[in-house]
Amino acid sequence: MKLEMKDSPGQLVAALKPISDVGGNIIAVIHQRDPDPDGDTLNVQIVLELPKGRIDNLVSLLKEQGVHIQRIGEERLLFQRTVILIGHLMHTGLSDTVDQIDSTGFAEVTALAMSMPGVNERSSSRITIKAVSREDMEAALAILRRVSRQKSLLLIEPLEDLS
């Protein structure tokens, strides 16, 4: 959703707090200082994941905070893909692998399942990635491909988009 708020400290926090109050999960916050010439309002685009049916609740909470909602985008814009990684996941820093996706700001690892084989054996993990758009998902997967190559991990991608 795209929000417009007063450019004052605290406004952003005021906008973000209701999101967690209704059980939402913030995926990305994108500041847009144009196109307002006066510069006294702040345009912010927030990408979030919300449990079904909570959107009305969130809208009224935001209004109470004096935040103006410019646009609410499609919920379907959330792209999701599940991949499997095989290799020495722990030795090669699984949290760093996950971090490389999370730190993009446009994609996030939202679920991770691990196998627990013996020491020195290769482990396997199933990783679910979510992103805002198809392009962002492609970019996230490109990062994962590069990291997998660097760390000699076997990356198994889905054949088709699961959105």
């Binding site: 499997i84 399942a113 196998s115 199933r126 889905p158 054949l159």
Partner: protein, 328 residues
């Protein structure tokens, strides 16, 4: 129509058995294996050749060779079914050229010459006014080439993806169903006769990649080679990976994929929903073609086998007969 056969192994035997059993109007005038050859312009007694091969290990006169058949026998179409050599394509390339030079049609199940020299061989066939058909090189009994040539004529093929190696599909099926390790499933595939003693070509995706190269060159004439295929095999897969996929309602299959607009030419293990049309058990093969008019078409069937592969070869032979020989 008169035919000559080079190679009397699994495929060659299947072809002969069907020629003997069915009244197809195809007369065998020459035959060769690696050690012997036999010519008879009046028509060879197939049952006798098969019996001799079984009993003695060779099919004809040990003073004669495949070259003698190809260069001297009286035939309209050569059936070339010798082993695939993916590096040199020989001796099959030489055999095929010699037949084309004599203005003889050629039907082959041999991936080597088609993956390595399709452009040259096709140009040669065109120049000589004869046909070079190779339906059996990709996905065994599945009529991929006929579907492309006829059923989908006029369509633009946008992309394709498929399961082109039955051995890998069997191994993945067994790993998923029984929680077997890759090594255990491979052993089972060997016991069932689905995997060679050296399984490298199958499990590292080389066989599927060769078939992908043949398809890409046939459809887009883009001159791609085996080295252009981004290739990952199934030999490093873990039972845990298959279990994790299963828990998510999915499984893993070795998929060959080509999409020229995306510059994609890849063989790799992929995650597929269990309900996906390309998810099936055992040694079957399948291919999905994405086209502009027909949209998606998926063909599923036997990717190998003696009589199954003979089906593809006989389809090619009868196509040649109807198109060239009968009219002449």
């Amino acid at each position: 129509m008169k035919v000559a056969l080079i190679g009397l192994g699994t495929v060659g035997r299947g072809v002969l058995e069907m020629l003997a059993k069915k009244d197809l109007g195809l007369v065998l005038t020459g035959i060769a294996d690696s050690k012997s050859a036999f010519l008879d312009p009046a028509g060879i007694d197939i049952a006798r050749v098969l019996a001799r091969k079984k009993k003695e290990g060779f099919c004809g006169d040990q003073h004669l060779t495949a070259e003698d058949v190809i260069k001297k026998a009286d035939y309209d179409a050569l059936i070339e079914v010798t082993p695939t050599n993916a590096l040199s394509g020989e001796p099959a390339i030489g055999y095929i050229k010699a037949a084309l030079n004599r203005k003889k049609h050629v039907v082959t199940s041999n991936k080597g010459p088609i993956a390595l020299a399709a452009k040259e061989l096709r140009a040669m066939a065109r120049k000589k006014g004869v046909a070079l058909r190779y339906e059996a090189t990709v996905a065994g009994a599945i009529p991929v080439m006929h579907t492309l040539d006829h059923g989908l004529a006029g369509n633009e093929i946008l992309a394709l993806y498929g399961v082109l190696n039955g051995t890998c599909n069997f191994i993945l099926t067994r790993m998923a169903a029984e929680g077997l390790t890759y090594e255990q499933a491979l052993m089972e595939a060997r016991e069932m006769g689905y995997a060679e003693a050296d399984p490298t070509y199958d499990v590292q995706g080389i066989d599927a990649a060769i078939k992908l190269v043949i398809l890409a060159n046939t459809i887009w004439d883009n001159g791609v080679k085996l080295d252009d295929v981004d290739r990952t095999g199934i030999d490093l897969l873990t039972p845990d990976a298959l279990r994790l996929a299963d828990e998510g309602g999915c499984t893993i299959r070795l998929i060959a994929e080509a999409n020229p607009k995306k510059h994609l030419l890849r063989v790799s293990p992929r995650i597929l929903d269990k309900n996906h049309p390309l998810v099936f058990e055992g040694t079957l093969n399948a291919l999905t073609l994405e086209t502009d008019m027909a949209k998606e078409i998926t063909l599923i069937g036997r990717g190998a086998g003696s009589v199954e592969t003979a089906s593809a070869i006989i389809g090619d032979l009868l196509w040649i007969r109807d198109r060239y020989v009968q009219r002449a």
